[in-house]
Amino acid sequence: MRFVPSFISSMGFAGLILARSVQYFPYVLVFSRPRADLFRQLYATGIRTLPVVTVVSLFMGMILSLQVGLELARFNQELYLGAAVMLTLLREMGAFCCGICLAACVGSAIAAELGTMKVNDEIDALKIMGIPPERFLAAPRILALVLMAPVVAFYCCIMGTLGGGIVGATQLNVDFQQFMSGALWMAESKDLFVGIGKSALFGLLIGVISVSEGLGTNLGAIGVGKSTQRAVIVSFLAILISGYMVSRVFY
C-alpha cells in the first residue's frame, strides 16, 4: 500500500521538474553559455549513443524481416516484406528502439550523474549560489533528449530497414531493390510524423523521469543505484504505455 502515495509523490515531483524546466527552455536556446551546455548534451544524447543504437536497430530490422518474411513466404507474398518492415519501424519500432536505447544509455547516466551530485551536496551548493538546478542541469538535458530523440529514431528506421533488406536479400530471396521500393511504396508521411512525434514524447518522458529520479536521490551511494535503476524501469514503462496510447489515437 506504500506504493500508491510514493507513486503519486514521484509523479508530482516529476511534474514539478517538468514545469520548472520547460520555462527555462528559451533561456537555454537563447544564451550562449547554456546553449554550449545544450550542445554537449546533444552530443552525449546523439553521437555517443550511435554505436548502441546502430547495433540494436540493425538487428531489430533483421529479426523483424526474418520473422515477417518467413510468414509472408508461406503465402508467396515476399513482395510486401519491405513495406511490412518499413511500416513497423516508422510507426512503432523505430521510436521504441530509440526510446529504450536512450533510456538505457542516456537516462541512466543522467540519473546517476544528478544523483551523485545530490548526495555530494552539489545540488544544494547550486541552490545556495542562487542557480536553479532546473535551469542549470535539468533544462539542457531534457531539451537535448526532446530534440535528439526524433533524429535517433529516424536513424533507427534507416538502420532497421537496412538490416531488414540484408536479411531479405541473403535469406529470403527478396531482391534488395525490390525490398526498398516496397518499403518506400507503402510508407506515408503520416507514419513518419507520428513516429517522429512519438520519439520526441519518449525523449521528454525519459528526460523528466531521469532528472527527477536523479534530483530526488537520497541515502548515499545506495540511493544513486536505486535512482538509476528506477529511472530506467520507469522510463521503459512510460515508453511502452505512452507508445500504445499514441498509436491508439492515430491508428
Partner: protein, 234 residues
C-alpha cells in the same frame, strides 16, 4: 557587533520520529565567528542547513538578515566536470551580469586569497580534500558573501591543512569582516577562531560562551567534551 544576521527561535526538527533539533534558540551577530561544537549526530549540520534555508523547521522560526550568504560544504561540493577556476567563476557567471574581465579579476583574487592560484586549471578529482575545501571557500567569497557558514571545515584534514583553513576563516573575519558560523568538533579550531562557542547536545544548546569562558566552564557536558577532545580517557 550588534545586528543579528541569523536568529533561531525554538527551532524543532525531527526525522523519522527522532528529534534532531529540540527547541534550539540562539542568534549570530554581524562580524562574529560563531562556532557550534558538539559530538557527531547532534544536529550541527542540520542547524546549518536551517540557517541557510535548505531545510525548514517543523516548528519555531529561523530569521535571516537580508545579506549575501556563502556556504562551505564538508566535501567542498565542487562540480566534477568544471576546473577549480570554472567552479569559482560559476556563481558570478550564472547569477551576475559581469564582463569577462571582471569575472576573471574576482576569481583570481578569490583563488589568491585561499592560496589556490597554481591549482586553478585542475579538476576537483586532481586536487586533495583540503584544496577542494579551499576551492569551495573561494567560491563562497567570490560573491563577496557577508556571512559564510562552514560545515566541518577541518574534518578529514591533516593538522597543517586544518591550521591553514582555521587561519583563512580568521583572516576573512578580520580583514573582510565576514561573519562566520562554523560547525565543527575541532576544539582547536573553535578556541583559535571563535567569538562565541555554542555546545549542542541532542539538538539542544547546552551553553553559549566566549572561548575563554567556555574553556573554563564547569558544566559537565563542556568538561567532558573538552576532555574527550584532548584524548583523555583513552
Amino acid at each position: 557587533m550588534g545586528e543579528k544576521v541569523i536568529e533561531f527561535d525554538s527551532v524543532t526538527k525531527s526525522f523519522g520520529g527522532k528529534k534532531v533539533l529540540d527547541a534550539l534558540t540562539f542568534d549570530v551577530k554581524r562580524g562574529e565567528v560563531f562556532v557550534i561544537l558538539g559530538p557527531s549526530g547532534t544536529g550541527k549540520s542540520v542547524t546549518l542547513k536551517h540557517a541557510i534555508g535548505l531545510m525548514e523547521p517543523d516548528s519555531g522560526e529561523v530569521r535571516r538578515a537580508d545579506v549575501r550568504f556563502g556556504y562551505l560544504f564538508q566535501s567542498g561540493a565542487l562540480l566534477a566536470w568544471k576546473s577549480v577556476w570554472e567552479n569559482v567563476a560559476l556563481p558570478l557567471e550564472e547569477t551576475m551580469r559581469l564582463d569577462a574581465k571582471e569575472v576573471a579579476r574576482r576569481v583570481d583574487n578569490a583563488l589568491a586569497a585561499v592560496g589556490l592560484t597554481d591549482a586553478a586549471d585542475k579538476y576537483p578529482s586532481e586536487i586533495s580534500g583540503g584544496m577542494q575545501k579551499r576551492a569551495g571557500l573561494a567560491r563562497a567569497i567570490v560573491r563577496e558573501a557577508e556571512v559564510i557558514l562552514y560545515d566541518e571545515p577541518t574534518s578529514g584534514l591533516d593538522p597543517v591543512t586544518s591550521v591553514h583553513i582555521s587561519k583563512l576563516i580568521s583572516d576573512l573575519n578580520k580583514k573582510r569582516n565576514v561573519t562566520s558560523v562554523v560547525v565543527t568538533h575541532d576544539m582547536v579550531l573553535a578556541a583559535k577562531t571563535a567569538s562565541r562557542i555554542m555546545l549542542v547536545k541532542d539538538g539542544k544548546a547546552v551553553v553559549c560562551l566566549p572561548p575563554e569562558e567556555f574553556l573554563k566552564s564547569d558544566i559537565p557536558e563542556v568538561r567532558s567534551f573538552i576532555a574527550a577532545s584532548k584524548g583523555e580517557g583513552i
